[in-house]
């Protein structure tokens, strides 16, 4: 060890290190330029000079980067002599490279405005970084120095391109004045590594975090491009990583796991737009895919969210989207289901970004806005000025001078038009994942002709092989919520399969008994983190530590290179014991990522985890104020002072555990409720299944056929049979809920069933109350037996009855089976879509009616091929593989006539003959059809009593009257209220397989609660101060969770009003606290006292 003094501070350091390392080690900054940690010190620029006093000798200026530590020396890093020396260095550097930003900044720092000597305008400061890099790290020596003195310059042998150069680009990277050194060593340019997450729109480094949400959010070394891993050179990252986290020896490992079930979620591949050469993707720079545009729009994308086009990086003013690229064509007769909405979303975001001036045109065939909230979103886009053009795009041409694009397209009425655009976006479809065939072989799956693995309607996530489940787009193209539902559904299937094994691998962490700190004076310990250079490189951490020690109640403070390292964790625990700390503060990064880790550490030392506070001096200080180090230091001190002020008031908190009822209540005995009930019963939970009517089966009873040919009644009956005979399922028909009390884990429900009143206790609720068919008032429904709904038609088709219409015996309307013996007379059937959907009263799309119409049209055509079937539609929304049935219907001569919302079809009856007239935009004329039967494709509407149930459960409805889940995309079966879940038509119109997937998802989510004996309640919740509360009840209504109740009790002979917190419901938002005028209620550890302490500490001027 060597002892020396730096700025009057005596330190001990290891032998053999340089002075610069020693100085930086204690948090003092010295300017450097030619120094690099991974290279041998050179001492060329002399910017790092410090004053060194060897005992008995005069103090001299020395370059600290190359001067070794010597015992007994005294070092000064800043005084006038040093500043003057650095100023001259800066001035001379400015003479050589007056245009370099780096040099200008250094010169500015030392007060050099204009050099006193004539500027030379060189592009090199002879720091030798490139030469040393090439030689020492890359082992190439492709560049060196020639000449001496004033003739010294950096050069390649004979001034020619050098074959030794392997265009790694390290010289360019390291040059402080931004010289493109590598252009001298080779005529080739470094090959950029495209950032695959940003669709190759920008470059990335070899070592990088793959994408902003990567888990773990840590950089990885790309072993395909890393020079060290491939050629055993470089290795710079290992030298510069202060955390010593780089391990080149890590190898890919093959692991063997024993598992009870497997879920296949391989996702999808994006359609390769090269297969559509007419659109010029890859040939024209300004033709991009929608996913590329998605990245352009993203704030973390290649252009930081600025909307610019690739060719010239300018703002586009006219953008076109071309839909169905790689979907709904001859080779891929399916709809990718997501492109209409993502194009709409992109157009809306682009419009919001750029405003009025941006023109967005979407070229489409049908807009398929069929999910919850989608139709409203589509309407919003139109209101924002997004222009939808129904047409068939033919080709794209590029204008060579502007790189603009001309789209030729064929309109509905067969006119050929064209439009010029700055940017064209291809809405590419979803294709099967690249490993589909391999997976199919491995797991014995059958793929359809597009290499997707279709599942059956009643087992939407089951593969043919037991224990293997399939979710996501691999089964069929689908959107996020459907994928999430399928994911949870697969979990539910596995939970029922492996319920005996549930929780067996869980290991609970055991902590030592907790120290009682009650009544103790606060003894605060503060740990200030360098976070490598992230904090330590900007501010002096030791100075912060020194400051912290002066704060009241702080009995210990220290700095750590990385406070989150295992080693520092041990030091924290040691300090807690040694100094008897009862409050701990870590000043480092953000509590959002690291609080749990530190809480666990102090818990290991016997402290309650809530006696912990963090000061965010990295994310909210040094990272954002790196260019103002002095002010950053001040702010870091302020932040730590505020944390100390709060910490002194912290109290130990406990997550109370409450025993729960492990039974489930399922409301609704349709296919959704039945499915949920069976799954939960299979997981060995008791289930109470409540049905409003006298029979089980719900809406599915009316569905007689499925598009894929499955017999729904057979399946439904077997499910009903199963549910009726399951010993764990208790069915209550003719039931009506009276009231539901309690909250997650502890509900109590009173209901009537078949005349009796029951009360049950249960831990979770699944809402599966369904919806109903809209009974139309339009199109003369009810006035003629020949006007019926699709469901009524289906009923008639199932009966195989001769007539499809009402109860008529009129032979003329018997289109299904021609009368025996009579000459077959050609019949006409007209179907009108969107009856009671997509109108002003019900703006949503009912999702299933298009499929239903096509299904029934095909059935009619099958039974009676001569019957003319017309379908009057607005957009045909046969998403996913249903598209194939749409194609089939057209092949079978079902005639589709589009109508506009503002020109709805008209129905009249003349002399007993029904006549439908509709304006057809294709013909630009009114079409009149005499029909024998008019079928109305009526929408799905919410049940009237949904509102009542919603109120009883305290859950919200959408403005359309369907139940509203916690998050439309990511939490499609949860309510915001814990313990209540949602599935089936009560959520939104959907098909059988979608309902079943969602009900399985609901039982899987419910199982996460009732699988445990107890639930842990949040600790940071509200608490009432009875002395302060006068029962004014101001807090009660604003509570978003209805967790507060007013009650009265007798105190000292009089009635005292006060408020009570339901700890199961309270989430700790503190709305009550901010509403209370009398400090009668507070959120634990966020009390007014805590926050005021922080405020006052912030306002202390130091």
């Amino acid at each position: 060890m060597v002892t020396l003094s730096i700025n009057n501070q005596k330190i001990e350091v290891n032998e053999g290190i340089t002075l610069l390392t020693a100085i930086e080690g204690i948090g003092i900054k010295v300017p450097t330029l030619c120094h690099h940690k991974a290279l041998i010190p050179y001492g060329a620029c002399r910017l790092c000079v410090v004053e060194v006093q060897v005992p008995e000798r005069a103090a001299s200026l020395q370059a600290s980067c190359s001067y070794p530590v010597i015992s007994g020396i005294t070092v000064t890093t800043d005084n006038e002599r040093i500043r003057n020396a650095r100023k001259i260095v800066a001035e001379l550097l400015l003479v050589r490279c007056p245009d370099s930003e780096t040099i200008k900044k250094i010169a500015d720092e030392y007060g050099v405005k204009e050099p006193r000597i004539k500027k030379k305008n060189e592009d090199c400061i002879l720091c030798g970084l490139c030469v040393r890099m090439c030689e020492q790290r890359m082992g190439r020596s492709a560049i060196g120095f020639t000449g001496r003195g004033p003739r010294r310059k950096q050069e390649t042998p004979f001034g020619k391109h050098n074959e030794m150069c392997w265009i790694c680009g390290a010289c360019n990277f390291i040059c402080p004045v931004g010289k493109k050194v590598q252009t001298f060593t080779s005529d080739r340019l470094p090959i950029p590594i495209p950032d695959s997450f940003n669709m190759g729109l920008n470059e990335r480094a070899v070592v990088n975090v793959l994408y902003p949400q990567a888990i773990p959010n840590k950089p990885a070394i790309d072993n395909n491009t890393c020079l060290h891993l491939n050629y055993d050179v470089c290795g710079i990252c290992k030298e510069v990583c202060e955390a010593k986290a780089i391990d080149y020896e890590q190898k890919e490992q093959k692991l063997e796991l024993n598992v009870g079930a497997i879920i296949l979620s391989p996702g999808y591949n994006l359609f390769n737009p090269d297969l559509k050469p007419d659109y010029g993707y890859g040939k024209f720079k300004n033709v991009i895919t929608a996913l590329e545009f998605e990245r352009i729009l993203s704030a973390s994308g290649p252009f930081q969210g600025k909307i610019i086009r690739p060719s010239d990086k300018t703002d586009p003013e006219k953008i076109a989207w071309i839909q169905c690229v790689g979907s709904r064509d001859h080779e891929r007769d399916y709809c990718s289901a997501v492109c209409c909405m993502y194009a709409t979303k992109e157009a809306i975001i682009a419009k919001e970004h750029e405003g009025e001036k941006l023109k967005c045109d979407i070229f489409y065939m049908d807009i398929r806005a069929f999910s919850k909230g989608f139709e409203e979103y589509y309407i919003r886009a139109q209101k924002l000025g997004v222009n939808y053009i129904r047409c068939r795009p033919l080709s794209i041409k590029e204008l060579p001078e502007t790189n603009n694009l001309i789209i030729d397209y064929l309109t509905e009425d067969d006119r050929k038009l064209s439009g010029e655009y700055d940017l064209v976006i291809l809405s590419t479809g979803l294709t099967s994942p690249g490993n589909a065939k391999k997976l199919a072989k491995e797991f014995g799956l059958e793929l359809n002709k597009y290499d997707f693995c279709e599942t059956s309607s009643f087992a939407p996530v089951d593969s043919p092989k037991e224990g293997v489940f399939i979710t996501g787009v691999f089964t069929e193209p689908k959107d996020i919520p459907e994928s999430v539902m399928q994911g949870s559904a697969a979990a539910a299937r596995i939970l029922s399969l492996l319920y005996t094994e549930k929780g067996k691998l869980v290991k609970e962490k055991v902590y030592p008994p907790e120290k009682d700190v009650k009544g103790e004076e606060p003894r605060v310990g503060v740990f200030v983190c360098h976070c490598g250079r992230n904090i330590g490189g900007v501010i002096s951490v030791p100075e912060v530590v020194g400051y912290v020690k002066t704060l009241p109640d702080v009995v210990h403070a220290e700095d750590n290179l990385f406070t989150c390292s295992a080693e520092s964790g041990e030091k924290i625990k040691q300090a807690i014991n040694e100094h008897n700390l009862n409050r701990v503060i870590v000043a480092s990064c953000t509590p959002r990522t690291h609080e749990p880790l530190f809480q666990s550490i102090i818990q290991e030392a016997g402290l309650n985890p809530y006696l912990f506070e963090m000061a965010n001096i990295r994310d909210q200080c040094t990272w954002v104020h790196m260019h103002e180090p002095k002010l950053a230091l001040q702010k870091a001190k302020d932040l730590v002072r505020m944390a100390v002020a709060k910490a002194r008031f912290l109290e130990p908190l406990y997550k109370r555990k409450v025993k729960i009822y492990r039974d489930a209540l399922v409301i609704g005995g349709g296919v959704s409720g039945i499915t949920s009930a069976i799954n939960l019963a299979e997981q060995y939970f008791e289930v109470y299944l409540l049905e409003k009517s006298d029979t089980l089966g719900g809406n599915l009873k009316q569905v007689k056929f499925l598009l894929n040919g499955d017999d729904p009644q057979k399946k439904l009956n077997s499910l009903i049979d199963m549910v009726k005979h399951h010993p764990k399922i208790h069915i209550f028909t003719n039931s009506q809920i009276v009231k539901i009390d309690g909250s997650v884990g502890n509900f109590s429900t009173e209901f009537k069933s078949d005349g009796n009143v029951h009360t049950i206790n249960h831990g979770v609720v699944i809402v599966a109350t369904g919806a109903e068919e809209y009974k139309p008032t339009e199109y003369m429904y009810g006035q003629d037996k020949k006007i019926i709904t699709q469901t009524e038609l289906e009923e008639n088709l199932a009966k195989g009855s001769r007539q499809l219409s009402g109860q008529t015996t009129n032979h003329e309307s018997s289109v299904a089976t021609p009368q025996r013996g009579t000459r077959h007379k050609q019949q006409t059937v007209v179907m009108i879509q969107c009856v009671g959907s997509r109108d002003e009263k019900r703006p949503y799309c009912s999702r299933i009616c298009c499929q239903q119409a096509i299904k029934n049209a095909l059935l009619i055509k099958e039974k009676s091929p001569d019957t003319d079937v017309f379908i009057l539609y607005r957009d045909i929304r046969t998403y996913g593989f249903n598209e194939g049935y749409y194609t089939k219907a057209r092949e079978k001569d079902v005639r589709f006539i589009a109508y506009n919302a503002d020109k709805k079809p008209e129905v009249e009856k003349i002399n007993g003959q029904l006549k439908v007239s509709v304006y057809n935009p294709v013909l630009d004329a009114k079409v009149n059809i005499k029909t024998d039967l008019l079928i109305l494709s009526t929408g799905v509407i919410p049940r009237d009593d949904a509102k009542d149930l919603a109120q009883k459960l305290k859950v919200p409805l959408t403005k359309d009257g369907f139940f509203l889940e916690a998050h439309m995309k990511l939490r499609p079966v949860d309510f915001a209220n814990d313990g209540v879940f949602l599935c089936g038509l009560a959520h939104f119109p959907k098909t059988v397989d979608e309902s079943i997937a969602q009900s399985l998802a609901a039982s899987s989510r419910a199982s996460t609660i009732i699988s445990k004996e107890k639930i842990e309640l949040a600790a940071v919740i509200s608490n009432v101060v009875d002395e302060n509360c006068d029962g004014c009840a101001y807090c009660i209504d604003p509570c978003p969770y209805k967790a507060l109740t007013l009650f009265e009790y007798m105190r000292e002979g009089s009635i005292k009003k006060t408020v009570e917190v339901d700890e199961l419901k309270c989430k700790g938002c503190g709305t009550c606290m901010a509403t209370c005028p009398k400090k009668g209620i507070y959120v634990r550890n966020f009390t007014l006292e805590h926050i005021t302490a922080q405020v006052e500490a912030a306002l202390q001027t130091v």
């Binding site: 909210q620 989430k1067 709305t1071 901010a1074």
Partner: protein, 138 residues
């Protein structure tokens, strides 16, 4: 900037779920904003009692900002709506205290809006600098 020597103290109450995360993202993205801002983490913008704002502004803060999730995105369903209605009341109270109501602001910043966070902080600091020191500052 009208007053170059004036270095205001500005407190920003940021909700844990959106704005505090937005501030972290500004950090991760290295988006600078003035050092005058001191952030106090609260669980929800709806938790900030009007007295906290008034106290801060009468005890030496030159500006106070409450940042929460965008309307409709509140982690606690509607805490931000409560904060919004309270903000109007706070502005009225400030008038009684003789404090310019521009010294208090409520803003919505989501967890993904690092850029917006930095911008809001820059704008507000600029505004406070233009206003000059708080009348309560000794």
């Amino acid at each position: 900037m009208t007053n170059n020597n004036f270095d205001p103290i500005i407190l920003s109450f940021c909700c844990n779920w959106c704005s505090y995360a937005g501030a972290d993202l500004a950090g991760v993205s290295r988006l600078p904003y003035p050092t005058n801002i001191l952030i106090i983490r609260v669980m929800c913008s709806g938790m900030v009692h009007p007295n906290l704002v008034i106290n801060a502004l009468t005890k030496g803060a030159d500006g106070v900002l409450i940042c929460g999730c965008h309307i409709g995105d509140c982690h606690y369903l509607e805490g931000n709506l409560k904060a919004q209605s309270r903000a109007e009341a706070i502005k009225l109270m400030l008038q009684d205290f003789g404090i310019e109501d521009e010294r208090f602001r409520i803003e919505w910043v989501s967890a993904s809006e690092g850029e917006r966070f930095a911008q809001v902080m820059k704008d507000f600091t600029e505004e406070i600098k233009n206003l000059g020191p708080s009348p309560y500052k000794v």
